[in-house]
Symmetry: C2
DNA sequence: CAAATTTATATCGTTCACGATGCAAAAGTA
DNA sequence: TACTTTTGCATCGTGAACGATATAAATTTG
């Protein structure tokens, strides 16, 4: 069948696309009570690990463009989670730092990863299978990242 | 470290989220010349396999909500790729069918899956590793789907 | 040092993605 | 048959994601 490939290959990309959407959905019960979204949670994770970072560093760690991260941070600032101040050495930079509310949310979010792990294990029976997927995903991400920046 | 988990678990979800975005990005060079987006390409794949389907069937196959698919189809209709007609048996339904342009695009898109496979192989060295990921992703998707509809 | 280039962020426009809500048609129930 | 519920789709509002473009500050170059 000439068009058989059209069905077949979407396998990987379509599944990644779907799995990503559904796992993000699995965060909803935990993030909704905190009033944050999954991408906002990612920003908090980055800042909890190291406070006071310029927009660029945050974007780079999340592999997002700054024009995605800037509005995200603006919404988080409006929500009182972070504040954005001008950089002292390089005044082009905007240094993003956690507010009291942003710092305190760490405590409330402490159990989310554990809850989600448990949920995935409960849903799928075993954990190892998914732990094994991680290096493959990293390899794919690393390769695609290079592909898209170099050329 | 009390907060160690916060870093660790994002492993899976963050990687899925990132891998999905980047692989969708890898479609750009092939879809841009056709003037379609990745979700629109997915809709076309569904219709190429079987023409004339109600909105609901398309949404169900893509695991998307109808309120995502409806605007998507409206844009595709405006672009002249599909038309949407009222259902005859059930007049609530909107039957989506391919236009001449939509049918002809199949020929132009024929090689996309092959190109993408090649690219992934070239980027990452081997194919098997990613073929092996597919059943795991299916298991995850299936489980999360149940979780989110049942409760 | 002045001019050109790069860098850090912001803004704009378009397209998803989805919760909430609305509405009309179909299906089920009394 | 009248009434209630469900179903199929549409609309609205919000938050990503990102390409394109803008702007000011830093850096490089001549």
């Amino acid at each position: 069948m000439e068009y058989e490939q059209l069905k077949l290959d979407n396998q990987l990309c379509f599944r990644l696309y779907t799995a990503a959407r559904l796992t993000m959905g699995a965060y909803h019960p935990y993030l909704d009570p905190l009033g944050i979204t999954y991408p906002q949670y990612l920003v908090l994770l980055v800042l909890w690990e190291q406070d006071k970072q310029p927009v660029n560093d945050i974007a780079h760690k999340l592999l997002l463009e700054t024009n995605t991260v800037t509005p995200l941070l603006q919404r988080m600032e409006k929500a009182g989670l972070v504040k954005r101040t001008k950089g002292k050495e390089d005044t082009r930079q905007r240094i993003v730092s956690l507010t009291k509310k942003g710092i305190e949310m760490r405590e409330q979010a402490k159990h989310i990863p554990e809850c989600l792990s448990d949920e995935i294990i409960q849903i799928t029976g075993e954990e190892e299978e998914f732990v094994r997927m991680i290096p493959s995903l990293d390899k794919l991400i690393e390769g695609l990242k290079k592909q898209q920046t170099n050329q």
